[in-house]
Structure formats: C-alpha cells, structure tokens
C-alpha cells in the first residue's frame, strides 16, 4: 500500500512541506511535521499497534491524547530506549524508532495470546487462590514465570545519554490547560495585570478546538487568542508541558519536552522539570470522553468519537471508510457528520430513543444512516474490526465496518484537583464528577467543571482568569472575550448498562479488566471502590484508568444497586501522566548528586598522593599512598611517624563556632556537661554535650579567647546539628541570654602538628612566636597573624603526643600547610590521614563516632567524672534514668588481643570464655587498631559493666569471618596513661 493512503489531500494542521521519516516495528514510514506517532500510523493504515497486558489481545489506537490505554509503544533508539509511551502523545520527529511491545515473536502473531483462551482460569485475583504449594517456598517457583509474563516493555541499560534540567519558576496565575477555557482565562488574567503561566501538554494550543475543521470559526478564534497571548510580555506559554502534580503551597510540578522540530535545541535537555510556584491557579483541564462497554469493545479499529474527529480535522487522516458511530449523547454526532463530510459511509447508533430532529436532519443531509435506540453488542474482527452486531428496534442487524467510534459521554478531568485532597462530587445532570469546593486561591473553568459548550467554556475561563488575577491583587479592567459559538447542544447522559454479547467486554483496556471481573469482585465482597481497584487491578495501568474509572464505578454501583456517589469516587494520585525519573532528578546526577566540600588544602592532598575518603560531604585524606603499599601498611607507618617524629593532619573539617556575648560563659555552662564558666582566658577545654534525653550528643574543645568570646569546635559530622541546636536554645528557651553563635567552619584552615618534634617544627615555622612550654602550656592558646591572616594555635592533643592545632585564615591554608611541611622536613614531618588519626586515638583511648553512637551516656563512655556533681546542664536530668544505672549496662573498656597472629575487629560480639556464642552477647568491639607500641591489636569496646573487670578475658566472636579471638579487658588508655608524652 502506498504511504499515507489514509491521508486526505488537504486540510489539517500538518506541514506537508516537511515529511518526517520514522519506523514502526522495523517498517520505514513517512509522516509530517505536526503529526503524532498515532496520527502518522493511522495515515499509513497501521491499525494493530500493541498487545494488552494480561490476555495479549491485539489493540489499536483508541484515543488522541494522554488517556490512551492501548497504543503503547517503545521508543527504541539505541541507548535511549523507553517503553510504554502512548503513540497518541508522541510528537513525530525525524528518525523516531518505535516498536510495539508485549508480544513475541511478532505483533501479528503473539504466542502469549493463548492467555485469552485460558481466560476462564485467569479471572481477577486468581493468583490469590493458588500457587501455595506443594512447599512453603513454592511461590518462588511460580513467581519466576509470572514475573516474566508480566511487565510492559523493558528498561534501558546503563547511563541515559540525554540531559535533564531543573528550573524554578514563579507566576501570579498558573493556568492549566490550553483549550478554550484556559486560553480565555489566560487572556483575561494577563489583561487584568497578572503574570501568567499557561501550561499545555500538547505541542499546539487549542485543546478540543484543534479537532474543529481548520477553516472554521473555531480556528480563527484560536489564532486570535494565541496571537494575543504570544504578544503579551507577562504571559509565559509552556507547550509540550505536562503539569503532573500539584503540591502544597501551590507548587506545581511541570515537565516540558524539548521541541523536536527546532534543530537549535538538539543539544539541550530532553526534558525540563520545572517547579512552578503560583499565587493562584486556574484549572481548565478539560474532559475525557468515555468508551462504551460491549463485547469485544477493545478491537483495533474501535476509537473514541472525539479522537476520530481529531484525526480527521487536525491530522487530515480519515481513519475508516465504513464507520459506525455508537453514542449516548449529541457530541459524537459531530464526529459522524465530519467523517461523512470527508467521504466515509457512516451509521450512527444512538442508544437514545429519540435523538433531536436537528441532528437527524443534518444526518439526512450528509447521508448518515441513523439507528435510534440501538447499541452495539458485539464486534467481529481480529487485527481490525470487520463487522458489528447491533441491537435495536430492527432486531440484531450486522453491519460491516472498518472503524467504530464510541462515545459514552464525558468525564471531567478532575485528577489534578484531587491531588490536594479536593474530593470530586457527582453531578447527576451531567452524569459525571466535578471538583468539590476549591480553596480561595484555586479556580476551575470549562468542561472540567462540567461546562461542555465551547461558548460556555470561554465565558467560564474569562471569569476564572479575572478572579484568579484579582486574588493576586491584579484588577485592571478586562473587556468581554470574543465569542465563539459552535452550536453544540447539551450533553446530557444516560447511565449506560453495558451490553454483553458472547465475548469479553472491557472496562479497563490496558489492565484487561472486564465486566466479568467487576462482577466477580462484587461477588467476593471486594465492593468498595478501593477494593475493586486493588482486586481487579483496575486503573493501575500507565493511563491511570483515565478512560475506565467511570465505567467501572457505574458497573459496581449497578451491581450494588446503589447510586454512584454511594459507591464512591477514587482518589487520583500524582503524576497525572507518567514522568521520567531522570527528569525529576534533573541535573543532580553523577558528581552533582551531592555537592562536595573541599578543605583549603584539598588540591595539595590530591597532588600529593592522598587517597581520599568522604566524611559527611567533606573530602578528607584517608592515607597517603607514599606511606605504604596499602592502607594497612600506610596507616601504621603514618602512626609511627607521629609517635616517633611528627605528623601533619588536615583538620579543617572540624565544626567551628564563634560564641560571643556577655552571657557566653553561662550559656556554655548549660550546654556542656562540664563547666566552662571558670575557664581562664587563653585556655582550651574538652567538652561533651548531651541531648535532652541524656545521651551524648557531641564533643570537642572550646577555647576562651576573651572574657566574652569563645571558640568552639565540634565533630565534623555534627557541626550543623550543634549550631542549629545552640540557636534553638537561644531563640526558644533562653532568649534572655545575650549570646551570638556563628559558624566559622569555612573561615579557618586547620591543621594539627602532632608528635615529639612538633614544638621544634612550630618554632621553625613561626620564628617570631614563643612556643616554649613556659609561654605556651598544654591546653593553651597563642594568637597571632600570619601573612596578614589571623592565626590561632591551640596546644591540644588527640593522639596522646605533644601536639598543636593551628588555625589560619582559609585563604592562606595551603600556603601555611606547605610552610609547615618545609619547616618540618628536617624533623621528618609527614602528612597523615584519618585512618592513622583514628588508630592514634584508639591507642590513646579517646572516644569517637563508633562509641558516640547515639545510645551511649557520659558514664557509658567513662566520662562521668567530667560532669561531677554539676547540675543544670542539657540532658542532666534524663541521664539519671534507671536504665543507665543498671549494673549490666555496657560501658567503655579497652581490649587487648591476646592470641598470637590474630586480630580484633570492630563489630565483633563479646562473650565470656566458655559461654555459648548465641544472642546479643555481653557487648561489642567498637574500634580497633594495630598498636605498633604494643605490638598487637588493641580495641575499644562497650561491655556489660557486671563482667567488665580489668584483666579478665572475653571472647570476641565474628561470625562473618568465622573468627573467635580471645582478648583481655584493659584500661582504654593503651598508651602513656600518665600523659607524659603530651609534654615530651
């Protein structure tokens, strides 16, 4: 057959000058700019497009919009594979490669269509009743096959070659839907002075107006409205944009597709995820036509009447030559007339006894055969409809056909209004749900509100646009909109009973839910709407049941002998149409997933062999590769150099907080478990903070810089939490304290010089400073300047060695680091990383993250003496709770490995010798290191107090490596318990 043989020679909104090549299931085809994939397939006579989910029934193109349940395809361009896309929303572009899905080996011949024959055994929920034996794990066997059979389409593999953008947008009035109501609202709101964002999912504005003939008054009205909006500076037109959800605060989630027709955009993001924040919203989302329920109503060639009209008038495709229009309302007659006008033979089968005389007259004029009080009961034809069985006053005549247009009335698109909990309400006069009462900042217009005539929608939109602008304080005068009356008659609806012949009658095409399934659900007591959905999977498809919800509800209502409102309404969840996860992630992927924090010395570390590790977004040197062949060798070498000469460590990641004010000392006294009020100026003190529940929160040193000023450090991990907590207490609990707290973490580069030679190095690096022990004692402070930046040196030790923490303005950090290394070279100063740091502190018995795990108290960590008899500090009262005093409460101890050649491991569980290793044991090893000083592994552990006597043995059990190691309980301070090395 020749290409585009179903295309009319004139008309439509396609650009015949711009042919577009594409393939479907390997077949090369031609369409035109302005086509969707669906319209191009129809133009080329392709009617069989997909297979259904469960029964693998052949399916064609049913709609012309996002409600499409059947014509789902996979876009299969290499590396850009994407399944389950409705052909009806895919804007045709050059080189598009589409494949049908859920079929094997081919679309025309699908092995699994045998499921159709097995249908009696595959009724709704059948899987809940079987596959339970013969063994307890039997389901795992059956599931394997069921999973393989399920699923539509296949995900891609590897990274997405396309980019996605995120953007933040703002508007006074957001208008959702570019049909007559939305356009009219946008014009009105803009004229009133509001900033307007008009959102339309299609690549053309107009909505249902696009289904009118292109030389009609509707087209002229649309051109005028479009021109007005395009020329307005305060209107943003967002075409190809799906508003997928509305969230609190009038934040709307939008996804905009790149315009494929604009070659300049080729390198741009495939989709842009925009978060639009609007002050008021006009919802003009239109309505979706309902199918009719009869046997075999899912055959390829069955199409919504409005869709047929859209294909005819917008895309210049005549999708059939012998057409039956089956309807329950006036609207579908207009499709019949246009199709007849284009040369098709048309029969209208209207279920109503007496359609209006005006319609009948027009039908007569166009040669349309009218059968009143007639419905379709069955359809014949496998891959395309061939014949319909009608039921009416004339008995059951059969009629040949190649297209069946159906219209069971319209359902307002209320999905978006229900995202924020506005419950839909049933209106008997239109036989459908409209949104319930809106909050003050939201307005509805057009067919979504049940106003089905174009003239009414324009009026409605105009009013809503003015009201929405007024809500934002924009109230410039707005002239009345230009009128457009298409002469539509009212669309009153009957409640249609399904008409069932011999074959299945589908309610949800995509999920293959039939009237029989609904009857079964009812019979078994799954009769609330939610049970019905969950039991039959109704509405769970990618179309979210846009065309099926109402018919299902009506069926259930009939079975329950209840009204529709009594039967309930479903809650619609976002997204309105499916959204690519990649679009939601936007540009926050790869290295942008989380920002990285770098210290001032970062580049030096990278250039000098540091193996980096990330700690709470900070990049820190883990060890330096020149220190050893692997991390084990390296950290031990780095430890040795600290203990024997000196090491240099980047500690810039520590949290640093400037605390100032007349009441600063009182404040610190309350937030630390130990006292700070009496700390002399120029001295530092280690402090521990508790949570309100008495558990240790964080630790660090705080130095008194002046009577009213302190310099606090926190752990790297807790820096932000500590600051926020301090601010909380000052703002909410103790506003009478005059204290300011400010993060200065980024302000200072910080480095620690540790080791017996550290003072000599300091002296060499800062020849003008007096760093003698007499002038600069342990826990002392020295303030100065270096290269024009502030310099603070604290004599503090974490490793147990004589050590100094040097703080300098961040801009001079790397310079000072290099200076220290240079000054330290004669003294064998070596940089060391966090692995060695951790090992040094374990040897010295200092607690850190593994011990301060959010469950331990001061007493657990052996720090109870810090608080002494103090009271009145945060956490003091609840730390005295009985559980924390229990004799078997786990407390910090040291452990020494006493088995030759074996090692301790963090995470080993502790048992008493001879005890059966079962359960939770007596405690656990928290941190370990090989101790070069001791020549074996040592560790810190939390061990039940009633068995933790120094010198006795425990067994450390590590099932994951099948290891059992004997260890001796010791003081956690393995090194220099008298602290002599601090002065060494």
């Amino acid at each position: 057959m020749n290409s585009n043989h179903k295309r009319l020679s004139i008309g439509g909104r396609i650009d015949r000058e711009q042919p577009v090549e594409f393939t479907f299931d390997g077949r090369s085809l031609i369409g035109y700019r302005g086509d969707t994939l669906a319209s191009a397939l129809l133009a080329n006579g392709v009617t069989l497009v997909g297979r259904s989910f469960k029964y693998h029934r052949p399916r064609g193109i049913f709609s012309a919009g996002p409600e499409e349940p059947n014509a789902l395809v996979t876009l299969a361009t290499a590396g850009r594979r994407q399944p389950n896309l409705p052909a009806t929303t895919l804007e045709l572009e050059d080189g598009l490669v589409a494949e049908s899905q859920n079929r094997w080996p081919s679309l025309a011949f699908d092995v699994q269509s045998i499921n159709g024959l097995l249908a009696p055994f595959l009724s709704a929920g059948f899987y809940y009743k079987t596959f339970m034996g013969p063994t307890r794990r039997a389901w795992m066997f059956y599931e394997h096959f069921i999973r393989k059979a399920a699923g539509l389409g296949r995900a891609g593999s590897g990274h997405d070659p396309d980019r996605y953008d995120i953007s933040h947008a703002f508007a006074d009035v957001a208008i959702w839907g570019g049909g007559p109501a939305g356009l009219s609202a946008a014009c009105a709101a803009a004229t009133a002075g509001a900033r307007v964002a008009l959102i339309e999912q299609d690549f053309l504005l107009g909505g249902q107006l696009l289904a009118e003939q292109s030389d009609s008054a509707a087209a002229a009205w649309l051109r005028q409205a479009e021109a007005e909006l395009e020329s307005s500076e305060t209107v943003t037109l967002m075409k190809r944009t799906t508003a997928f959800g509305i969230y609190d605060g009038n934040v709307i989630g939008l996804v905009e597709q790149r315009d494929p027709s604009n070659p300049q955009l080729a390198g741009e993001a495939r989709q842009t995820f925009t978060m639009l924040r609007a002050r008021s919203i006009v919802l003009a989302t239109g309505a979706i036509e309902r199918p009719m329920v009869f046997s075999n109503n899912d055959r390829p060639g069955v199409m919504l009447a409005s869709a047929a009209r859209s294909y005819l008038n917008r895309f210049a495709v005549l999708p059939g030559k012998k057409i039956i229009v089956a309807t329950s309302n006036d609207g579908a007659w207009r499709a019949a007339f246009d199709l007849a006008d284009a040369g098709a033979e048309v029969i209208v089968a209207d279920v109503r006894a007496a359609p209006s005389t005006a319609l009948a007259a027009e039908a007569g004029r166009l040669g349309v055969v009218v059968r009143a009080a007639t419905r379709i009961v069955d359809l014949n034809g496998g891959h395309a409809v061939r014949r319909a069985t009608l039921n009416g006053p004339d008995g059951q005549p059969e009629a040949a056909c190649d297209l069946v247009c159906v219209s069971g009335g319209w359902s307002p698109t209320v999905h978006l209004t229900s995202h924020l909990g506005v419950k839909p309400q049933y209106r008997d006069d239109i036989g459908g749900f409209v949104p319930g009462a809106f909050p003050a900042d939201r307005f509805g217009a057009g067919s979504m509100m049940g106003t089905y005539s174009t003239a009414g929608a324009i009026e409605d939109g105009h009013r809503a646009g003015i009201a929405a602008a007024w809500f934002c304080g924009k109230s410039m005068p707005v002239p009345a909109p230009s009128k457009l009356d298409l002469g539509e008659t009212a669309t009153a609806l009957l409640r249609e009973a399904p008409s069932i012949g011999r074959g299945k009658a589908f309610v949800d095409f995509q999920m293959d839910v039939t009237t029989g399934d609904i009857e079964l659900a009812h019979r078994e007591g799954y009769e609330s709407v939610e049970h019905l959905k969950r039991y039959t999977t109704l509405g769970m498809g990618t179309d979210q049941g846009k065309t099926s919800n109402f018919a299902a509800l009506a069926s259930m209502a009939a079975l329950r002998n209840a009204t529709i409102p009594e039967t309930g309404a479903t809650t619609f969840r976002p997204p309105y149409t499916p959204v690519a996860i990649g679009a939601l992630a936007g540009c926050a992927i790869g290295h942008h997933f989380k920002p990285i924090r770098r210290t001032p010395m970062h580049d030096w570390h990278m250039a000098n062999g540091a193996e980096m590790i990330e700690v709470g977004l900070w990049m820190r040197p883990f060890f330096y590769r020149q220190s050893g062949r692997d991390s084990n060798e390296a950290y031990i070498a780095e430890m040795r150099s600290v203990r024997q000469a000196a090491g240099l460590m980047d500690i810039s990641t520590l949290g640093k907080i400037d605390v100032q004010g007349p009441d600063a000392a009182i404040f610190l006294d309350r937030i630390y478990a130990n006292g700070f009020a009496k700390l002399p100026v120029g001295r530092a003190r280690y402090g521990v903070m508790l949570r309100d529940d008495g558990i240790v929160f964080d630790d660090g040193t705080t130095t008194r810089l002046a009577e009213n000023r302190f310099f606090m450090t926190t752990s790297t991990a807790k820096a932000a939490d500590v600051l926020s907590r301090l601010e909380f207490l000052l703002d909410t609990a103790w506003p009478d304290l005059r204290v300011a707290v400010t993060s200065v973490s980024d302000e200072w580069a910080a480095m620690s010089v540790a080791g017996p030679k550290s003072r000599a190095i300091l002296s060499a690096a800062f020849p003008v400073l007096d760093v003698s022990d007499a002038a600069f004692a342990h826990m002392g402070l020295l303030e100065s300047e270096w290269q024009g930046r502030a310099l603070r040196i604290l004599r503090l030790s974490y490793s147990g060695e004589r050590a100094y923490e040097i703080y300098v303005g961040a801009t001079a950090g790397e310079q000072l680091w290099s200076r220290l290394l240079e000054a330290g070279r004669p003294f064998d100063l070596k940089p060391y990383g966090v692995e060695a740091l951790g090992a040094l502190r374990v040897e010295k018995g200092h607690v850190a993250g593994p011990e301060i795990d959010g469950r331990t108290t001061l007493d657990d960590l052996g720090l109870g003496r810090m608080a002494g008899k103090r009271t009145g500090f945060v956490g003091d009262v609840l730390r005295r709770r009985p559980a924390f005093q229990a004799p078997d409460r786990q407390r910090l101890v040291g452990l020494e490995c006493i088995e030759e050649g074996k090692r301790l491991r963090g995470g080993a569980i502790l048992f008493l010798p001879g005890e059966k290793p079962y359960g939770h044991g007596r405690g656990r090893v928290t941190s370990v290191t090989f101790s070069p000083e001791r020549g074996h592994y040592v560790g810190l552990a939390l061990l039940a107090g009633d068995v933790a006597s120094e010198g006795s043995e425990v067994v450390a059990v590590y099932p994951m490596k099948a290891e059992t190691v004997r260890a001796r309980i010791a003081s956690p301070v393995f090194l220099d318990p008298q602290g002599e090395r601090l002065h060494g």
């Binding site: 389950n84 009696p120 009743k129 079987t130 389901w139 978060m275 078994e524 996860i581 992927i589 529940d693």
Partner: protein, 418 residues
Amino acid sequence: MSRYSAFSIFRNALSGQKNWQRAWRAAEPKPSYDVIVIGGGGHGLATAFYLAENHGIRNVAVLEKGYVGGGNVGRNTTVIRSNYLLDGNTQFYEFSMKLWEGMSRALNFNVMFSQRGQLVTAHSADQLDGFSYRANIMRLNGIDADILDRDEVRRLVPYLDFSDTARFPIHGAIFQGRAGTARHDAVAWGYARAADGHGVDIIQNCEVTGFLRDGDSIVGVETTKGRIGAGKVGLAVAGHTSVLGAKAGLELPIESHVLQAFVTEPLKPLVDHVVAYGADHFYVSQSDKGGLVFGGNLDGYNSYAQRGNLGVVREVAEAAIALMPCISRVRLLRHWGGVMDMTPDASPIICPTSIEGLYLNGGWCYGGFKATPASGWCFAHTIATGKPHPLITAYGLDRFSTGHTLDEAGAGPSAWLQ
C-alpha cells in the same frame, strides 16, 4: 468457607465464576464482644485471627472506619526483613519472618511472599564494618546474613552504578537472602478471610468515636454504628494512634509523619531483589506486575495528610538515579503518602496500658508491614492473657521514662529524624 486451590479455580472457571463466595461476611455489630480490635489493617486483622486461632477467642469484632486494608498495609512498599541489631528487636522480627514463611498456607490465601533477598549497599570500609556488626548479630541469633564485596554485589545486581562517575562508589553490601516482599493487600484480605472463617466479625465503615467506661475500666466503644460492649479493647490503628489514644485518655510518645511511596510503569524483570541505597534514602523492589516500587525518607513534619511533597519526590528521584542510572527514562506512575506513627526511638509499642481493658499496638514507624504477623500473634497473646508476650517485653510504654529505649539508628528522641 470454601478452600482456595488450583482445583477450586478450575471448578469455578467451568461454572462461569458464579459460585465464589464472599471472602469475608459483611458483618453488622452485635451488642457486645469478648474482644474488640479497633483497626482493620494488617495488625488488627492478624490480631483477631490469632485471638481465634491461638487462644480460641472467637467472639471478636474488628472495627474499621473505612475499608479493610485501607491504611498503611495497603500503602507501603512491602519490604520484609529481619536484620535488626538490638536485643528485643532482633528476635521479634525474626519470629515475624518465620510466620511470613508459613503465612500463605496458614491463611489459605496466597500473599505472594517472595524471599528474593534484600541488600543494602555500603559505600566505605567503615560502613561495611558497621554492616558486619549487624550481620554478626544476625548470625548469632540464627538469622541468615551475608557480607558481599564489590564484585559480589556487581554479580548480583549488575544494573547498579559501578561506573567511575558514581558519586558514592559501591564498596560492598549486607545481604539477607530470606528477606523479600509480599503482596500487601493480600495480607489484609488473607487475615480478614481467615479471621472471618473463625467467626470473627469484620465491620467496615464503622468508626470508633469514643470509649465506654465503667469506673477506670474500658468496657466498650462508641461507634458510628452505635455502642458496642467489649470485655477487652485492642487498639491497632498505627498512624492515628494518638487520635484514638487521646479519646481514651492516653498520653503517648508518638508523632504522625508522612512517608511517601512510589511506583513506576510495569517493566519486564529488572530488579530481582530488594535493594537499599546505603549512601542516601532510597530503596526499591519490583512488584510481580512489573512496577518498580520504591521509597525514601520521611517528609519530615507532622502530618495526617496521606500525601507528600515535591521536595522529597525530587530527592528520591535523585537517589534513584545515583544508584540505578539505567532507570532514568523509566517513568513514575504514581506516588502517595502513608501516615506513620513515629516513636522517639523508632521502635514499636505493644503493651497493656494503664487503663484496665485497653491494650495498645502502635508506633510502628515505617516498619509495620514486616511485623504484621508477629505483631498480631504477640498482641493477641497480650490481650488474651493480660500479660505481654515474651517477645514484646521490650516494647512497653514505660521504656521512655526508664531509659530502656531501643534506638537502632541512635538518632535520638526527635521523631522526624528517626
């Protein structure tokens, strides 16, 4: 009640599906019951079932304000695991796992418990050490656990990001092979049908509006269907425990928070396990229908609205792509929120209360689904005997005043940080 089996399906197929019975009766309330369980979710229904099955107490009603299974049991991401660290949690969740393993056959309802295995990725040596501690505890309590290195993880789940551009490279994982998923609705329906089979009345659209008291004891409830007397009342309404607890005069350490869940379009099999991302808040499995079911972190503020916000949607999507770049073009089909009872230590509360005749089951945080059978089992025992079941002695309300909290994450008493 007729038994479900392959044969029953065959027989009913031949009779045009006309002979199936209701899964449970449409019961109307009697004047009084021995036990009333408030809440027709998984826990409430399981409680009713075990009251009858284990304790022979059959004069029981389950009162549900909406429809059975309409709360969290029908909204969660269906992950079932028993990888808990702390004494009290470990044994309870493992007992639950064992009940899951026999549930379909015990209920004669296929809950599709799929022991496909769950893994949590580790992104540093330290993190993997932490996982090893957990795995050690599990093994020492007779629970299966494995630690995988990077190559083993890669063989198991090759579609994760093992590229050089991964922001948090995968270092290894902890794996529990017996963990998995189940069909959530089927759990509610299965317990409802089985409880009904024992004579339990399941009363839907019956909201409890107050409690009937005799002195200090609770002797029944006020409902939208009238007063109903009860020997004992069990509260199993996680998400709304505070609201009902307040009606009974209980002061509770619970906050309600919203947790979102997400499902994609159905795909052919891609994710064969439950996978959790150790570097951020994201976990995913694939339903038998083919949709990827995933979730992330709490929205982070008190809420009774069953919906979440866009910020978390975005964060979860970012984490999803960070772990599994191959799903970038896969589309999100639906997302929704469930209301969680968050406790100050992220562990549940099951116990008798200070009010005679009133028993409490709540505070399930976001871990309630996996606990369903054990919760029902132990709660039924507690109601029937008046004494806590040995497996739930750690879950008493008094633990907050005594300090015996079970804080797996060490996050402290801010409920939204748990």
